[in-house]
Amino acid sequence: MDASPAEMARLAGQRPPRPRRRLPPWAISWIQVSPLALILFVLFAAPTGLFAVVSFFDYDRVGIYPAFLLDNYKDLFTTPATWRIYVSSLRFAVIVWAITLFLGFNIAQFLVFHVRTARVRILLFMLCAIPFWTSAIIRTIAWIPFLGRNGAFNTMLMELHLASHPLDFLLFSDFSVILTYVHLYTLLMIGPIANSLSKIDPALLEAARDSGASRFQILRWIVIPLARTGIALGSILVFTQVMGDYFVVKRMSGGQSASIVSALSTEIQAMQYPPASANAVVLVVFVAILVGLMMRVVDVRKELVS
C-alpha cells in the first residue's frame, strides 16, 4: 500500500510479466481448505477414529488388548441402563429445547422488533450476554445454595409463610437440572434466532399488515418461516449441549440422574476404556443422526450463504 514511486513504476509493468506456472484448480482448493482440514483431522477425525478403534478392543483391569470384539457393544445394548440414560437424556433435551425455544424466540423477537432504539437493544443484548462471561460451572453451582433445603429461596418462602416446610424438590431433582440447563442455554437460542430475525425486511411485515394479516398470521406465515435457520441452529446447539452434558446433570441431580456422559465417565474412572469408547461411538452416531434430521428440516448451508 505504501509502495515507493520506484516500486510503483516497477509494478506498473516496465518488465514483461514473467510466465507463471499456475497451480491446477484442484490443488488451489486443497491448499485453501488445508488449514481447517488439518485442524479437523488432528483434533476431531483422528481422536474419533482412535476411540472407534478402541471400542472393539478387549480389556481387563491390567490393560487393553487389540482385538475385534463386539462384546463392548453387546454389553452396551443389553444393559437396561443404556436405554434408561438415553431416554432420560433425550427427555431432558426435548424439555429444555422446548423451553429455550419458547423463551429464546420471544426474547429475540422482542429485542429485534419491539425495542426501538439501537442503544437499548445493544444494552439488553449485553444484559443477556454478560452472565456468560463467568464459567458455566460457577453458574451451575450458584444455584445450589439458592435452591437448597435451607437455601435462600426456601428461607424466603418460609419467612413469607408461603410454605410450611422447605420444598425438597427444588434441588437435586429433575427440576433443578432443567432449570440450570434453561439458564445456561437460552442464550444459545437467542443469538441465532435474533440474527435471523434481524435479516427480515420490515417492509415485508408492513406489507402483510397492510394486506390485513393478523399478528398471529404474520408470525405464522412470515416471521417463523424466515427465522427457520436461526431456530434450527439454536436447536442444534441446545440439543447437542444437553446430550453431551455431564457436569450439570451430575451436580444438580445430586448424582441421582445419569447422563450418557456420566455413565461413560464412571467407566473411565474404573479404567474401562473400551466400553467407554463404545459408549462414546454410540453417542456420536446418535447425536449425528439427530443433527442430520434437523439439517433436513432446514438447509443451514444454503440459508447461511443467502
Partner: protein, 427 residues
Amino acid sequence: MSKIVKHGITRRGVLGAAVGAAAGSGALTGFPTIWAQNIKDIEIKHAGQPVTVLAAIGEQATKDLGFKVTMQASESADLLNRYLSQSANVDVGDVSLPYMKYLIGRNILQTISVSKFKQWDATLSLFTKSVYSDGRPASTQGIAPYTVLYATDAAGSKFASAPTEFLNGVPTITNADTLGIRPDLTGRPITSWKDLIDPQFKGKAALQDNPTVGVIDVAMAVEARGDVKYGNKGNMTKAEIDKTIELMTEIKKSGQFRSFWGSFDQSVNLMASGEVVIQSMWSPAVTAVRSRGIPCVFQPLKEGYRGWGYMLGFMKHLTGLKLDCAYEYLNWYTSGFAGAVVAREGYYSAQPMNAKKFLTANEWDYWYGGKPAAEDIHDPFGRLMEKAGRARDGGSFDERMGNIAVWNSVMDEDRYLTRRWNEFISA
C-alpha cells in the same frame, strides 16, 4: 453455603512455625547419607493426592536431603492415569492399596528392598503382618494391605502371598473411615451402619459417588440390617453384587438419598447446609464442617470401620544415583516429619512412633491417644481444628485402626460392578 475449603493458601507461612518447632526437637539428624557432589542436581518428583502431597513436605525434604523434592498433586483416578500413561514423569508416587492391583504386572513400579528400607521395624504390623498391634488378626475383606505389599521377585511382576524381601511399595498413610453425622439433626444416637438406610433419614442421607466405596458402604448397611450376609464385602460375587444393587435401587427409589457426592467440598457443603444428616465421609471433611461452627461427628459404629491405606512406590525408570536418592527420600519420608504433617489432618502414619517424634505431646494424645485435647489443636496450615477439651471421634488409634471391618477395594468383578452401578445410578 460459605466458601469451599481450599488447602494451601497460607500453607508455607504457617507451616514454617510447625517445622521450626519440630526441628527444635533435634530429631532431624543423619540426613543425607549420600555425599555425592552431584546430588544437588537431582530432582525427585513425588506424585500423590492433593491432601497428602503438601508442598511443605517437599520443601522440608529438600532442605534436609540436599537434593530437590517436588510434590505433584492429582485426584485419585487422574493419579492412577498418570502412573499408567506417564510414569516417566513421576519418580515416586502414592498408590492407594486397591490401585496396586492396576499397577502390578505392568512394568510401571519397581520393588523396594526391605533391607534398604530403614523404617521397616517402625511400620505397623497391620501392614506387614496383617495383625493389629495387640496381636489379633486383622480383617481381610477388601484389599487388605498385607495382600498387596509383597512381590514374588525383584522385578515385582506378581503379588506374593507371604512375606518376601521385595515390597511393591512402602506403607505410608492409613485411616479408618466411617459415617459422618449431624448429631443436632439426627435426633437420636447413631450406632450402626444400618442407620444410613433407616427410613427415618429419608431424603437426608448421601453416598460417595463411586462404585467401589459406595457399594461397600451400602453393603455395611444392608449387612448390619440383616438383609445380606457377605463372604467378603470387599470382593463380592456376581450374585452378591446383584443382590446389593437390587437393594440399593430399592432404597434409592424410596427417596432415601438426597445426593451422591463426588468431591471433598461437595460432601462438606451437603453436611454443613443441612441437606444431609448422615453420609459416607472423610475425616478431614468432618473437621471442615466443624470448623464452621456446625456440629458434625465422625461416628464410630459397632460393625467397625472401612479402612484404607497408601503406599509409596518407586517408578521403574529410577536407576543409579537417582534411585539412591529415592531411597534416601523414602527413608526420610517415613521417619516422622511427613507423618506428623498428615497426622494434623487426621490421617495416621504407617510409622506412628516416628511421627510421634514430630508431634507435641498434646497433638500425639489427641490424634493418636484419643484423649481430650489439653490445648487447641491446629491443622498443618495453622487453622484451628479443635478446641481444647474435645477428644477425637472414635477414640484412640488402637480403637479406630483396631476395628477395620473392610478395606477399600477393587473387586475381581469390577467390570460387572461398574455396569451394575451405572444401572443403579440411572434407575
